[in-house]
Symmetry: C2
Subunit: 267 residues, 2 copies
């Protein structure tokens, strides 16, 4: 990759995800992530976050930069306990700064909500219209999400298949989309959490014995030992590490990981 | 209707909607409506509100009573300018108090978001599973919404038809669902706003010359003359009137109204 490419990619969107075995709030990670939306980085073109709570799912989106958004301020201070979270701060590449272009996107498939956020850029990406899902906005990201869901639905019309079957089809369509450009994404139905790395994505799993963590983007620490119980397990996935005193694992380019209950279970 | 039936109906959910010709905030109406979620009335089992902004749509839902919800507090104080709004406070009849059972519900149809909220109760309502949309939660309301969207999609597979064609099909499926119980609802795709009255629904259209309005549920007044411009037109639709110094129009039982640009255009 050329230096100019790295620069281009560094100015794209950023992703943050969480998957855990007990409902957990994301206030600490979101605070650091949020600072990248205009304070420590330049992702000022809107942001969004989705929380799964049981079968339910609520999404908060805003076209304001996350550091200036009253809704982001609420999310930082109002602990929502969730097992699967997907957040996104946007640096627009395709599609204007409009609400319909804010990630994460959500659709219902097989009677469950599916949520998707993308970091990257798919050049000249014009998939054929599918039978079920159509984009509302005009981003490459929502087109890719609709293509993924259309493919899953057409392949498995009866309902969600086994994880292994689902993974194979998702991997194939992901690889084909990734040929069009940079395609880092997070995807979840509240049961499984998929993380695809095209160029840049890392994760950390926090489990017993817990330690203290310190944010890179804000001078804030948290002592998880005081907050977590021995059996708790939390996976945090982010475009770049959020803390400077923990060891994050870099996901390989082309790798599609599946997390469940706070653990990476398939790759 | 027997006195006991009236009592039963009075304790169900409540609806609030807005349709207007210029993006307008709903802070004033929402403040009065919100009080009914545990202060002036007993609709304590969650609440929600959806805002259309251009093609985009954002929904805020919470299982907490609206009078005790930090998210409702944000909505009361953060003016979101929208042309179509649907809000709901819940008194659970079917389905537990869980996030997936909070109204409004949202799906994508023909590349646009559709939002739906229901006041009433459909006894023994078990429509056959449709080809496209499935409920995520277990309310009669979400089943009815999915049945409506499945019917529209099957009837018009090519995309949104003329309003007249859409209205006829929506009226037919609405009448057939309304045979199962009480079915007051609000439905919008951000372009048209549909309001169906089964037992209780009223509306008011605010336009030039604007006057002051005073809430029933909170001692709050607003002078629209100071806020609105001569061409502005705003329709507010609610289960029961929100103000005590304006004349609200009661929608007839069995009537399906369509609002656009702040005016009732079809019934």
């Amino acid at each position: 990759m050329l230096a100019s490419d790295i620069q281009t990619q560094a100015t794209m969107c950023q992703l943050l995800g969480m998957n855990c075995n007990v409902p957990t709030d994301i206030c600490f990670s979101f605070e650091g992530f949020c600072a990248r939306g205009g304070k420590t980085d330049e992702h000022r073109d809107g942001w969004g976050i989705a929380f799964f709570e049981g079968l339910g799912c609520r999404t908060f989106i805003d076209v304001k930069p996350s550091i200036a958004s009253p809704i982001a301020e609420l999310i930082k201070n109002y602990p929502i306990h969730s097992t699967n979270v997907i957040a996104h701060i946007r640096k627009a590449t395709q599609g204007e700064i409009k609400l319909e272009n804010c990630h994460p996107f959500r659709r219902e498939l097989w009677g469950k909500y599916w949520v998707f956020a993308h970091n990257g850029n798919l050049e000249n990406f014009s998939p054929a219209a599918g039978d079920f899902y159509q984009p509302v906005g005009d981003t490459d990201s929502e087109k890719a999400f609709c293509l993924i869901l259309n493919t899953l639905r057409e392949t498995f019309p009866q309902g969600k298949p086994s994880l292994e079957q689902l993974y194979q089809v998702l991997k194939t369509i992901t690889n084909s989309i990734a040929c069009q450009g940079i395609f880092n994404y997070l995807l979840s139905d509240g049961e499984h959490f998929f993380a695809h790395c095209s160029t840049k994505l890392s994760y950390i799993i926090r489990q017993y014995p817990f330690a203290a963590a310190h944010l890179i983007d804000e001078d804030v620490s948290v002592d998880f030992q005081a907050l977590a119980r021995p059996g708790d397990q939390v996976a945090i996935i982010a475009t770049t590490p959020l803390t400077d005193n923990e060891v994050w694992t870099t996901i390989n380019s082309g790798e599609l990981l599946v997390f469940q209950q706070g653990a990476a279970i398939l790759s």
